[in-house]
């Protein structure tokens, strides 16, 4: 599954969790440029993504992520594993 496709799938999840119905998620989207993406919202996002893809993220993996594009790449790697 491509990174672009993953980002497309993440968009409704992020819209729902962040309560931003018109959010346009991009590869470079991150906590500094998306409204309401604070530390608690981050946990909610991670758990919603884990629930959607039935994957688990380690704390080290999460701490290395710089943006949604890197999260999508991590998801792609986990789905292939």
């Amino acid at each position: 599954m491509s990174t672009e496709k993953i980002i497309g799938e993440l968009q409704p999840i992020f819209r729902d969790v962040l309560d931003l119905p018109t959010l346009q998620l991009r590869a470079d989207s991150n906590a500094s440029n998306v409204e309401g993406w604070d530390s608690l919202a981050h946990i909610n996002l991670v758990m919603a993504v884990e629930n959607h893809y039935k994957v688990k993220f380690a704390l080290g993996e999460l701490q290395e992520l710089k943006n949604v594009g890197e999260m999508a790449e991590l998801i792609t790697r986990k789905l292939k594993a």
Partner: protein, 138 residues
């Protein structure tokens, strides 16, 4: 009071307790919340609105979700992160409420437990349902 450690929590772990809704709780909640809506304090007004008696404050019954998290599951180490509540039916003074919860998701990285919870009355009627997000401190 329960004192689950993070490592002891599992998907499917449940807790349950009963509580009888007392008039003193209504009085206290009115005082602290300032919600003077007569639906909750005037039986005649409530009857005119179609209820058998004054309707319990929804947020009062929801306070029992706080007890669930802070006392029962996960208990002492809990820190409530958030809660989404749907009110399904009215509750009344004298109702015996059963509050139950179950862990549905755990995140090791952030030590977060997500629970689904519900409150039913003595007739089995669903009063409210909730999605609870609770952190677990070390």
């Amino acid at each position: 009071m329960k004192e689950y450690r993070w490592e002891e929590l599992t998907i499917g772990l449940q807790a349950r307790f009963e509580v009888t809704l007392a008039q003193s709780m209504m009085d206290s909640f009115l005082s602290l919340s300032g919600d003077i809506n007569p639906l909750h304090s005037d039986p005649d007004y409530a009857r005119a609105a179609g209820y058998s008696q004054a309707v319990a404050f929804g947020m009062l019954t929801s306070a029992f979700y706080s007890q669930m998290v802070g006392v029962h599951l996960p208990g002492r180490r809990a820190l409530l992160h958030g809660i989404d509540i749907d009110f399904r039916s009215p509750a009344f003074v004298g109702d015996v409420l059963t509050v139950s919860a179950e862990i549905v998701q755990l995140n090791d990285a952030y030590r977060r437990a997500n629970l689904k919870a519900r409150i039913v009355n003595q007739k089995g009627t669903l009063i409210s349902s909730a999605k609870i997000r609770a952190g677990v401190r070390e």
